[in-house]
């Protein structure tokens, strides 16, 4: 019991005393998460849009696959990225194993299916309503994708936030490809996983508090985005 209260007290001292080590970890984590999400969006938004508007053989199978990839176990992704980036692996010459770059790649692999699958669902629903109108205006399917992404921006944003949540919470992938090296690749989740075992409860708890706060903020943001778009959706429904 006293362990816990002492731990919390120490954690808050670290947080609000702006402990350099702790904040370094927080900032690196957010940077890695952010870069991974940006990379995932660059791939997932156009890919999800294309899966929504194009019809081709094997489309259903691709959709099922992407949906299944949403549930990839982070440790397995970490292992695969490790094998590819390790010295003897196919991309070993890049020499980026145990760097933040490797962590970004691993997390992007985890987040891309989420952004792709959710975007596809959103855009496909929109496309059903917009197809005839956009075709009438002379829009090709390809040209329709950015139009639809922008028109579905609030829903697309919640998909992106869901991807960010996944990146922020996972530990299995970053710990394998990053290695939890102090001042270099130590993130919030890897630090918690390893510092707890070493008895450094104050640091682990402080980071835990930050992570939970982040999760709450992300959910609040997603909720607000949805809330803001509600009147719009109601209006559309009323006009149908």
């Amino acid at each position: 019991m006293s362990n816990l209260t002492e731990g919390f007290a120490a954690a808050f001292r670290l947080l609000f005393g702006f402990d350099a080590d702790l904040w370094e970890i927080i900032i690196l984590s957010l940077e890695v998460n952010f870069a991974a999400v940006v990379l995932s969006c660059l791939i997932g938004l156009p890919l999800g849009g294309a899966l929504a508007v194009y019809r081709f053989r094997g489309r259903k199978a691709v959709i099922v696959l992407v949906n299944a990839l949403m549930g990839l176990p982070p440790v397995v992704v970490g292992l695969l990225v490790y094998l590819v980036l390790s010295r003897s692996g196919p991309l070993g010459s890049l020499n980026i194993l145990f760097t933040p770059g490797a962590m970004v790649i691993a997390q992007a692999i985890l987040v891309t299916p989420i952004v792709t699958a959710l975007t596809r669902q959103i855009i496909e629903n929109l496309w059903q309503d917009y197809r005839e109108q956009l075709t009438s205006l002379g829009s090709s399917r390809r040209r329709a994708i950015p139009t639809l992404l922008w028109d579905g921006r609030t829903a697309v944003l919640t998909a992106i936030l869901a991807g960010f949540g996944r990146a922020a919470a996972e530990v299995g992938a970053v710990i394998i490809v990053g290695g939890n090296i102090a001042h270099h690749t130590r993130t919030m989740t890897t630090a918690i996983a390893l510092e707890t075992g070493r008895g450094n409860l104050a640091l682990a708890l402080g980071l835990g508090i930050v992570l939970v706060t982040l999760a709450i903020l992300l959910n609040a943001a997603a909720w607000m985005v949805r809330e803001r778009s509600m009147p719009e959706t109601a209006l559309i429904a009323a006009n149908r």
């Binding site: 009438s136 002379g138 028109d151």
Partner: protein, 240 residues
């Protein structure tokens, strides 16, 4: 408007089935230049489907849509359609029109200028910055008109352009339709509104359960219906 005309339009033996239901049944129709053609018929007759087939949005099961001289794609660029249920993009009133004009390859500044002209044309000049979906039903219909007009089409398909509008809004839409012809454009419109058909039609096609029971000059058909269905419809006694 001085480019060579895409009219006359000939629909030859158009048939369309859906889920075992004959939606359009061997329809022949000719649309002459600068003659307002009205497709008249009760609910479910197939008016919307016929317009969409003519506009190239739906491929008929058999039959052909022939635009004078021009292949389908080139002719499509000279057409616009105002849908029975217009789909407006989730953006400002102005941005809706700019998007449509930009799809024709027009530069941004010029497209904005044209969009403003089009809004003035339908009397929505002071609503440019409003979200399109916050407009009333009648205003949305007018915006949809402005969007079609801004593309400078030779042929306009108007699907029930005044259904669900109050008398004043219907009147202003009818004024626009009259104005279109003065500008050298040709309107093909569908309606079940007899009074409007009488006011606007040069030529008439009477559609009933997917079949064109009568076609010809409006004056003649109104004065002397050949089929009992049209005679009943004109007396307001045909409901199906």
């Amino acid at each position: 408007m001085e480019a060579p005309s895409i009219l006359p339009l000939a629909l030859e033996n158009i048939s369309l089935r859906h889920d075992g239901q004959q939606i359009l049944d061997r329809i022949n129709m000719l649309v002459a230049r600068r003659r307002t053609t009205v497709v008249l018929g009760p609910n479910g007759a197939g008016k919307s489907m016929l317009l969409k087939v003519a506009h190239g949005l739906i491929e008929p099961d058999s039959g052909a849509v022939r635009w004078s001289g021009l292949p389908g794609a080139a002719a499509h660029a000279r057409q616009a359609m105002v849908f029975q249920k217009p789909v407006l993009l989730n953006r400002s009133v102005l941005a809706n029109i700019v998007h449509a004009v930009r799809l024709q390859g027009v530069a941004r500044a010029k497209a904005v200028h044209r969009a403003h002209t089009a809004l003035d044309y339908v009397g929505l000049g002071d609503m440019a910055v409003r979200p399109a979906r916050s407009l009333s039903g009648g205003e949305q219909q007018r915006l949809s008109f402005a969007r079609a007009w801004a593309r400078d089409p030779e042929v306009l398909f108007l699907d029930e352009p005044t259904a669900s509008l109050d008398p004043a809004a219907s009147w202003s839409i009818e004024q626009i339709i009259v104005e279109l012809r003065r500008e050298g454009r040709t309107a093909i419109l569908s309606t079940h509104d007899l009074a409007m058909a009488r006011r606007l039609a040069d030529d008439l096609v009477f559609l009933h359960r997917g079949r064109a029971l009568e076609a010809g000059s409006a004056e003649q058909l109104f004065a002397d219906p050949k089929t009992p269905e049209l005679a009943a419809f004109l007396k307001g006694e045909l409901h199906w």
